[in-house]
């Protein structure tokens, strides 16, 4: 078995995660975590839909921010995709998508404040980068044959619209729809930093232990996501897109002088601002690196590696839940519901809930990341196994699982897992805002002490780390000849 490169790679990652566990801070510090967890589930079972006057408005805002953000991101991403072959464009896109929506929101909050623009840009900017990459991958895969059959003299734009777009239309549409779902999640968590979306109220009720209120919000959010196919119809889309900007709320007016001040003063490293020049810059950077960046990077990497392996293990355990090869319809339906809930809940909210219940350590973060990402990949792999036809005398039960199915799906399993490596790291960094000592913790601390210069350097470091992992992930996928699909 060890002669298979995929197995060797898996074992290496498993070993790294196990070593990571030795250094990681894994503990349940709450005195009575199960009582709290029980209270939470009781809250979900006894939802209170009439608690907050703002609940429906919050839902409306969540949808509005998602639509505007994803639309702007999609349009910009599409145009960027057309010029994606140029290296500077690729680097630019990699950079803007390496910074998490919440970080973008924290940046814009400093100068746009509580204006709708903050939320829209926080979604639109990273999504442009993601759309650009995936759209360009999809367009590249388009069959070149129809283009060759065009009469000479056909304009480039006409050729593009009539030969390439029709060929990839379905993929483009599927991916955009998937992104809209992600947009709803992103939009919801923006509330945690103060925008008027669902997260705002969720944070309020959770931190005060009002689980029935929180339960109601979560249920509404699941229903919203689960019913996307019902209310997001092609014919209704123009209505939503034109209407959404009017439902973002008023916020507070922008004072443009703040924008200039942010870029010309706030983010200039303090030694330069104080006129100490380059001589002061080095010690400043040095201190920042040693006291904040390095511990942050270390914790981010350790947590990412553990969460990655935990995601993998959970995926392998979860996919049989919806696979046709096991169990009856009841088990599959409940499996479906479990996986849909796991993947619909944003990691940030999951981690937030678990942190409240179990107390602070890396454990809630690992579990949250594994549940969310395992839910997504488990769902995809489970569906994939349904296309596999086994011989009628194939073994049953555990033997079927371990000797028939796992070997058949293992390569695409790894492909998905390495594809999500970068995404897991992006999330790991952001979970620091909740109090786990990853890079986000130090970014948040810098912002809390009004040191935007330090915050920006730390955000840049986070982005570089993400880009690094993205490159490494792609290298490994290429090395193992793993096929990737963009819709993950």
């Amino acid at each position: 078995m060890l002669s298979y490169p995929t197995v060797r790679t898996s074992l290496i990652f498993l070993a790294i995660a196990l070593v990571g566990l030795l250094f990681a801070d894994i503990a349940i510090t709450a005195n009575n975590p199960w009582r709290d967890l029980g209270n939470f589930f009781l809250g979900v079972l006894t939802p209170n839909f009439f608690s907050s006057e703002g609940l429906l408005t919050a839902l409306l805002r969540t949808v509005a921010f998602a639509f505007v953000g994803v639309t702007v991101g999609g349009v910009c991403g599409f145009f960027l995709a057309l010029v994606y072959r140029f290296l500077p464009v690729r680097v630019f896109c990699a950079f803007i998508r390496a910074i998490h929506e919440l970080f973008w929101a924290l940046i814009f909050l400093q100068f746009f404040g509580f204006h709708p623009l903050t939320g829209v840009l926080a979604i639109a900017i990273p999504y442009s980068g993601i759309f650009a990459k995936v759209y360009s991958e999809i367009l590249e895969e388009a069959d070149p044959e129809p283009g060759r059959l065009l009469p000479p003299g056909t304009g480039t734009i006409a050729a593009f619209l009539y030969t390439r777009i029709p060929d990839c239309w379905v993929q483009l549409r599927t991916y955009t729809a998937y992104r809209l779902e992600c947009g709803l999640r992103s939009s919801a968590i923006l509330g945690f930093v103060g925008l008027p979306t669902l997260g705002f109220y969720l944070e309020t009720s959770f931190s005060q232990g009002m689980y029935s209120d929180a339960g109601a919000m979560l249920i509404l959010f699941y229903v919203l996501i689960a019913t996307i196919p019902l209310w997001v119809r092609p014919k209704l889309l123009p209505v939503y897109i034109v209407g959404a900007p009017f439902f973002l709320g008023d916020g507070l007016p922008i004072v443009w002088g703040n924008v200039e001040r942010f870029f010309t003063e706030d983010i200039v490293p303090s030694p330069l601002r104080d006129g100490e020049g380059l001589a002061g810059l080095l010690p400043w950077l040095n201190e920042l690196m040693i006291e904040q960046a390095l511990p942050g990077i270390w914790n981010t990497v350790v947590l990412t590696q553990i969460a990655l392996v935990a995601t993998g293990i959970l995926t392998l355990l979860a996919f049989p839940l919806i696979s046709n090869h096991f169990g009856g319809p009841i088990r599959r339906t409940s499996g479906h519901i479990f996986l849909v809930i796991a993947r619909s809940t944003p990691e940030y909210i999951l981690a937030y809930i678990l942190l409240q219940l179990w107390g602070p350590s890396m454990l809630p973060a690992v579990v949250a990341l594994a549940l969310h990402n395992g839910g997504i990949i488990g769902h995809l792999i489970g569906r994939q196994t349904n296309t596999i036809r086994l011989r009628s005398d194939a073994p049953k039960g555990f033997n079927r699982y371990s000797w028939e199915l796992v070997p058949r799906i293992y390569r695409s399993f790894l492909a998905f897992l390495f594809y999500r490596w970068e995404i897991i790291m992006r999330e790991t960094a952001i979970l620091g805002i909740l109090g786990i000592y990853t890079l986000g913790f130090y970014v948040d601390s810098a912002i809390q002490s009004i040191r935007f210069d330090q915050a920006m350097v730390l955000i840049l470091i986070t982005a570089m780390l993400n880009i690094g992992v993205d490159i490494l992930g792609r290298y490994i996928r290429r090395k193992l000849a793993l096929q990737t699909m963009p819709t993950c």
Binding site: L109, Q208, P360
Partner: protein
Amino acid sequence: MTHNLIRKLLIIGLCSLFSAAVTAQTFIFTAIPDEDETKLVERFRGIADYLSEELDADVKYIPVKSYAAAVSAFRNNQVQLAWFGGLSGVQARSLVPGSQAIAQGTEDQAFYVYFIAHESTGLDRQDSLPEDVRGKTFTFGSKGSTSGRLIPEYLIRETFGEAPEDVFSRVGYSGNHTRTLRLVESGTYEVGAMNFAVWEKELENGNIDTDAVKVIWKTPGFPNYQWSIRGDVDENYGEGFTDRVREALLSLDDPELLESFPRSDFIPASNDDYEPIRKVAKEIGIID
């Protein structure tokens, strides 16, 4: 880059369509989120109504999710008045030239921090920070809080000569004083530091399980909360507006509103009152 620009212009155009609802003349204030939000919203909506009436102007309160967000909103002139803690007030006023502290609660002249502990620690009340807290888990309030972070950190460093991370086995930031109380009460953290006024109010309302958590040390007093106002308010809201706001706050005598803070009454304050806070913050490196 061009797309970026087009995108921005596009959204700005879209947003300007519907951002006119908050008129320039609405006087907006905020407060640091130091307690449960429901309570804050209730308290400050009351204040907003009171000020609207007294000032004969449209006054609005907006809740924020972090101390830094309150400071930024004040700095960015999206709010003109704020109920700050000692530290957030010092930070905010240093960023807004001409801004001033105009009123504080009587209790804010000498404010205290309570160090509290879970019963499992076996710690008892003492006249100084007990040596035995070493090695326990510990939670501050918010990172930007005066009574939840600045003063406790300063006193921990003074007592032990070490950073909190080295004194305690685990250091967390609960977010606000109510959370600190709940986390220590439930034993998630063994020791915590919180605002004495929040403790006393919760105790009075019967919201503390005194078998599970108790006060182990009351710190020396320090100046804390205050109302701060921007320097350009007179320019934008009419000559003498600052004085009218100060007057309105100082003459606030609605017992229910005062009780919600809880403060017995508001008295005049000045920027110099908070000099000790600035010094301490500088000493432990929270401000430059």
